[in-house]
Symmetry: C2
Subunit: 553 residues, 2 copies
Amino acid sequence: MQRYRDSEIRSPRGNQLTAKSWLTEAPLRMLMNNLDPEVAENPKELVVYGGIGRAARNWQCFDKIVETLKNLEDDETLLVQSGKPVGVFKTHKDAPRVLIANSNLVPHWANWQHFNELDGKGLAMYGQMTAGSWIYIGSQGIVQGTYETFVEAGRQHYAGDLTGKWILTAGLGGMGGAQPLAASLAGACSLNIECQQSRIDFRLQTRYIDEQADNLDDALSRIEKYTKSGKAISIALHANAAQILPELVKRGIRPDMVTDQTSAHDPLNGYLPIGWTWDEYRQRGKSEPETVIKAAKQSMALHVKAMLDFQQQGIPTFDYGNNIRQMALEEGVSNAFDFPGFVPAYIRPLFCRGIGPFRWAALSGDPEDIYKTDAKVKELIPDDAHLHHWLNMARQRISFQGLPARICWVGLGLRAKLGLAFNEMVRSGELSAPIVIGRDHLDSGSVASPNRETESMQDGSDAVSDWPLLNALLNTASGATWVSLHHGGGVGMGFSQHSGVVIVCDGTAEADARIARVLTNDPATGVMRHADAGYEIAINCAREQGLNLPMMA
Amino acid sequence: MQRYRDSEIRSPRGNQLTAKSWLTEAPLRMLMNNLDPEVAENPKELVVYGGIGRAARNWQCFDKIVETLKNLEDDETLLVQSGKPVGVFKTHKDAPRVLIANSNLVPHWANWQHFNELDGKGLAMYGQMTAGSWIYIGSQGIVQGTYETFVEAGRQHYAGDLTGKWILTAGLGGMGGAQPLAASLAGACSLNIECQQSRIDFRLQTRYIDEQADNLDDALSRIEKYTKSGKAISIALHANAAQILPELVKRGIRPDMVTDQTSAHDPLNGYLPIGWTWDEYRQRGKSEPETVIKAAKQSMALHVKAMLDFQQQGIPTFDYGNNIRQMALEEGVSNAFDFPGFVPAYIRPLFCRGIGPFRWAALSGDPEDIYKTDAKVKELIPDDAHLHHWLNMARQRISFQGLPARICWVGLGLRAKLGLAFNEMVRSGELSAPIVIGRDHLDSGSVASPNRETESMQDGSDAVSDWPLLNALLNTASGATWVSLHHGGGVGMGFSQHSGVVIVCDGTAEADARIARVLTNDPATGVMRHADAGYEIAINCAREQGLNLPMMA
Ligand SMILES: NC(=O)c1ccc[n+]([C@@H]2O[C@H](COP(=O)([O-])OP(=O)(O)OC[C@H]3O[C@@H](n4cnc5c(N)ncnc54)[C@H](O)[C@@H]3O)[C@@H](O)[C@H]2O)c1
Ligand SMILES: NC(=O)c1ccc[n+]([C@@H]2O[C@H](COP(=O)([O-])OP(=O)(O)OC[C@H]3O[C@@H](n4cnc5c(N)ncnc54)[C@H](O)[C@@H]3O)[C@@H](O)[C@H]2O)c1
């Protein structure tokens, strides 16, 4: 069982097939793209993002998935179980080519301890959300979501204007690294605490962050300077958030917004305890995991207490989906959940209309293909200034990582419209090779996660996970190219169940039919789920879009 | 929200459609059949079996499911979420007509307390295994499984001869009621303790049990008489098992085999504490659930202690999949798991070859249709004496309940062969209407349940639930007629995840293709799962049957 391999993976480019069809070439390229050094956090250990979110269980499994996809026929389906290719079965042309289940555990055993035990025996893999389901596209994937969140928070708390305001946060990892850029795009300054210099360097290189401060005093004086002059500059600080936040509280410093994106969901691998070096943390994690977990959670408790202090001063404070409140709660911070998660606070109204992190990638590897799709989006959605602004800024400020890709939050109706248009562009030769369309598992109808996406549902159905399971079954029945079911993404073992979907636009008429079904049904399940919970916006959306929801009629 | 309705449901019979095709008529009839008073334990409250295993969330949902199925087109799919029809979506002809997810909860919240809270708000339904997935066929469904278990135990412990032996057990509910008949068919006497007289009456009526004793002394003298004379007679005793078992230990009575099928998995609804009447138990369950649960679990602890005492005397003792050991463990019986579950003890070798509770029902309602399929099975499997014996006895001793049905444990290879033959019989008119083919969720590839079906897996992967999820996704991709994903069946909330599948033989060529795929792929996932865990029997079976398991090559 080989976990580490000193090799560099990069997806093939161009329009020549290495597999037997684009429906198998696409998962092949996207798996490899997930491990592209431009994309993945630690590709040599198969880690894509989010702590230990992997693309394959080990290198033997990776090799075998690649080999199997190369030989897979158009009426066969490959099953992947926690990153291992376990079977190939005869299905049919309209069935998915790959079906994936990652990290799922029977609830009573669904905790990190049991997972780590299995992982140690080579029997498990943490799939996070898009790591194990092969549709991670680097930090861009999260930029728009973070941007939408900051913008919405600005709308709610600062009359829509974040000029001269600053956001305090931590974590510059695979997803957290999007925060400084998103803050700048939204017009705010930001102070970003990160305990690994390498992560800061990576964000400076890719222009996601503007400057690094030498120390806390330097950081604060930069913040003061830029907020005064109204410049939306992002600043990194190499430090431990659990130390810095209480210090800021003590000093009476008032940020304008507070959140966090350390990998708190995974205390063994993703959150540095106060006073430790990262290396020490990683090494002792192997020999004395219990001690390490305890230390990490104790630091999280301090971190959350400081966040609560900020909130009590009236500063908008929210959890950004890393389960840090739960960890603090387990360490005795009984009011940890006093500040809200970002979904009920800012994202749910979008989910009610099936709007979420829709995305696509150009299998050609050619940035022009994405620019052409950008133009097509503007053409088809001519009157959405906010969306046009996003596309313009994305083109200017976001470096592609790996295969060129675009993310664009749109909902029920528009997703299918865009998908069909892209397929037509492939058919006509306007694009140089097929496009894959997917989304995050964090989406309207695809996740049950009571501390994050389904926190504080109106009817109390936060923990009901029938919905993501139905979403995966329906996407399979609709003819998606690959479908996945994961457990524990974002918030860690025990706390979420969610599903992913990807569909290929290969330019064929068969793809038209599949795209129309999948890109309608997938967001429709989100509208359905929120309508069922009683949200007016969703009920109205269902009516407008003509959904058939039997108990609503 | 109407939970109770004073009406009697009975499936339509004959070959006239009430829906638009047999693919929608079939789930309609099987849903109704699940609630046939001959089939269901408490149909007026929609309860099919296994404590509170329901077919639909409430009567409004039932009506709407029926109405929706009647109107459903051949390229549409109905989604059912915990017994509620939540959406109809465009799919395609080879997609399932119904996709079901019941009782699924995010792991951290996957316990009875949270479930009951949701249930109280009308947001949940316990689907058990085949209750919420509409392929329960009454006690027959379990007779062969229980029979196979007793026979295998006889083989292991009594050189294959149970003459003059007696089995001690409890619970004569929906499934437990199969025990006395299965014991008789296997050649043994049995003493069956049941605390509700109505349940005993029902089993006497349907000839599943032979006699009722007046009291314990009477029961023991009957046992003595019949074991001496070598007659395989079954005896019911109206009493509380938690009281009787310790009493038997005290008296030094030695049964030849000990097990139990009370609904211990559900302490609030399925297990009577010592000293309580059933009515009192049910009523106080509503007003003071905590007290009731505690009392039930305390009695279970005494029950399990007595079972452990029997085992220490060398008497074959096993858990029959009701999670009673876990409940006792939680009440401080630290060695509760000293006696094994029936799966690792007796069933796993069958699972390794994809063998499990395969079953089918005649939508015509005509018993002749089933007798013709019985004959076809004998014709196609001419040299399996054990199977022929089963079919003969089943015809003689088992009264049909609701739509005539047959269960027959067969595995990979034979399932598809039989399915195709039945479809041919429908096509040729030999059978008077279509047949549905399904199975229990307790099957080779469809369940993760560490206290039951996946107890003590060779590689320690008991709790990995990727497998049933992949099974459901693959059955969906293969063109099953309906597919379901449940949580908590058999062993209760938190302890299992499992999937169901049903396929219709409507005599068409399209059905041939679907049947060949589904009835191959479904048991093949079981062989795959056991081969992956390292079982030689499964690895050999995979080779013989030519399965494509990439990491095994
Ligand atoms: N939309 C969402 O809900 C959403 C979006 C993005 C991320 N998340 C969550 O946010 C978390 C981060 O995701 P990621 O992909 O960036 O993970 P990651 O593991 O790649 O990055 C986490 C970063 O936090 C840093 N860090 C750890 N402890 C720290 C400490 N005490 N002080 C300062 N820095 C510290 C690490 O060095 C690392 O760079 C995850 O829990 C993820 O699930 C949620
Ligand atoms: N193959 C399997 O794994 C398998 C098969 C059948 C049943 N089961 C399990 O067995 C249990 C029974 O299933 P069912 O469908 O028959 O349930 P059920 O609820 O219909 O029947 C349970 C019966 O036990 C009786 N009972 C409860 N407490 C008792 C006590 N203290 N003493 C005597 N009788 C008592 C009840 O009156 C009831 O008739 C369930 O937990 C089920 O999951 C497992």
